[in-house]
Amino acid sequence: MVKDTKPKLAVYKFSSCDGCQLSILDLEDELLALTGAVEIAFFLEARRKVQPGPYDIGLVEGSISTPEEAERIVQVRKECKYLVTIGACATSGGIQALKNWADVEEYKRIVYASPKYIQTLDTASPVAAYVLVDFELRGCPVNKYQLVEVITAFVAGRRPQIPTYPVCLECKREGNVCVMVTDGAPCLGPITQAGCGAICPSFGRSCYACFGPSESSAAEMLCNHCEKTGTDKPTIVRMLRSFNGYLEPFKQVGDEYERQTVKNH
């Protein structure tokens, strides 16, 4: 490939912890191949030098949580040929979407000495709620091999091979013993998209749904089962409302369980 025709990559940050951007810097073994395949044209966390747009591929980390971000994402969309969201925040609103169920004005009063300086939206939203997104890569944080696969697929002009089936498939390919069956543990693996390599169940812990709902995610069936086997309703609400609680069907099922909790009190 001739050097000056390399596709230009841009990496943007919105409301986030930077963990997904760090996953790019964590590529270590693949970093040279990455810089060989694409021109890193805009990536403030990695280099000060900025090349002007437009860019061929834009990776967006973070949710849209402020009025300024709601405007900036429109600009970002305009300067990128392909827009890929990376991570739970950009794809579901992330952990900060928990404010979507809370009174934001009250939070501002409690947390900040001068709330009047805080410009924030009432909701933290996924990027796709504002602009068209070409591909959404899940995970809190993203899996670096999946990230490489998305960029590789873009460079090669093919579809990324990112499975949408549940974590259980990865988990059992690893030879893990099911924690739901041996411990009765409420594990979110059956309703969560694969991609992490089943890290938590590989260490005997339940899945926390960092990768959000899987294809035809059976959140209702799993929660009904967990309730029958001893998990209380408030715990079920908290299980669903973590990194990806604002994505369906987690949101709907979580809301329903919350309604039932409130009714019982």
Binding site: V155, K172, G175, V181
Partner: protein, 384 residues
């Protein structure tokens, strides 16, 4: 009844047997405790067996319990089967590398399988290998499977105490090993009886301290197996089952199951006969190198039925129906045998405890009852 010649060996001879197998270059795989269950792993001594342990199994539930004896094989099958050794969950089939302007070269192909000696495997496990033979050796030709399977030694164990989800007696595969083993052991108090199933098995027995089992003990083993057959945790009436299931593809019960089924695919991976896989070609960032991988696949995923125009099984009900009717019905037509060996793994390891014997029985009983009602109604008509 088959006239079986049994040998009696002291339990302590088992370590000698393992030693011989290791010396001869076999990787000995046997049951051992891992993460709260009895799984099949590489072992080197009987000390690694779950001595004095048993398993309590129910739909969606598995617990290890202490026994009041020191039996070496006082449990049934766990989450793993021989499938993970003969048909590994993730396999690199080959790699290719760019060479020159337009050419490419093949890199290392599949690795050679180890020579396995499977110790402590059960009648249902042996039956499952026979089912997979029909897929990987007859219907297609999988060199890795064929080599691993043909070179493997099977030191099986009969099951005098079936588990809570076992129904091998219904499927005609157990609890006594009838074929496919080199040696089949039955555990008694201080000894094993050993039935020989091959010349390799005979050679191994000859290398151990052994004597011919007396008629009384031999009779005792027969009795133990007869009693075991009658104490299965589950049962399934297989009479006309394939045709009944295929005639009831629109039965409302498929949707009832789908209200519980999460399409998580655990049943298909725990099943010792499910053989589906995904083939995936991977390229790297340099564009110089590509690999083809095969991984376990499942008919419970959407991608499984993806084709131009969409998914042919988009509803979980359709996916469960596909799995169950393939396993219990159309498998017969395809491979000349049931796809179910009655091991009960799909029942125990379903996180929400969906039970293949119960679900199939609901549909079959409904059909059998309505047919007998029709028959008696038509008899009344004839009578009147």
């Amino acid at each position: 009844m088959k006239n079986r010649v049994l040998y009696t060996i002291d339990k302590r001879e088992l370590d000698k047997l393992i030693g011989i197998l290791v010396r001869d270059g076999f990787k000995v795989v046997g049951p051992t405790i891992r993460d709260g269950a009895i799984t099949y792993e590489e072992i080197e001594s009987t000390r690694q067996l779950p001595v004095g342990w048993t398993d309590e199994q129910e739909a969606g539930k598995y617990r290890l319990k202490r026994r009041d004896d020191d039996n070496l094989f006082g449990y049934v099958v766990g989450p793993h089967s021989l499938k993970k050794f003969l048909f590994p969950p993730k396999q690199r089939l080959f790699g290719i590398k760019k060479s020159g302007e337009d050419g490419f070269v093949f890199e290392a192909r599949q690795p050679e399988p180890p020579r396995y000696a499977f110790l402590g495997v059960r009648a249902c496990d042996l039956a499952a290998v026979d089912v997979q033979d029909r897929v990987f050796k007859q219907a297609m030709s999988d060199p890795y499977y064929a080599k691993a399977r043909n070179e493997a030694i099977f030191i099986a164990v009969n099951c005098p105490e079936p588990g809570g989800t076992c129904f091998c007696a219904s499927m005609g595969t157990g609890p006594r090993c009838s074929t496919g083993f080199d040696i089949a052991l039955t555990e008694l108090k201080t000894t094993f009886t050993a039935e020989v199933g091959s010349t390799r098995g005979q050679e191994l027995i000859e290398a151990l301290e052994h004597e011919t089992t007396d008629a009384n003990t031999s009779h005792l083993v027969d009795l133990m197996m007869d009693i075991a057959s009658e104490h299965m945790g589950r049962s399934l009436d297989t009479n006309d089952l394939p045709s009944i299931l295929l005639e009831n593809l629109q039965h409302h019960h498929w949707s009832d199951v789908a209200k519980r089924c999460m399409s998580c695919a655990n049943c298909t991976f725990a099943c010792p006969t499910c053989f589906c896989s995904n083939i995936e070609d991977q390229t790297d960032l340099t564009g110089e190198h590509a690999e083809r991988w095969r991984t376990w696949g499942s008919c419970f995923t959407l991608e499984f039925s993806y084709h131009t125009g969409g998914y042919s099984r988009s509803s979980p009900a359709a996916r469960y129906r596909q799995w169950l009717t393939h396993k219990l019905a159309s498998w017969h037509e395809q491979f000349g045998v049931s796809g179910c060996v009655g091991c009960g793994r799909c029942i125990t390891w379903c996180p929400v405890g969906i039970d293949i014997t119960k679900e199939a029985t609901v549909i079959a009983d409904d059909y059998r009852q309505s047919r007998s009602r029709q028959e008696s109604a038509s008899l009344e008509e004839v009578g009147s």
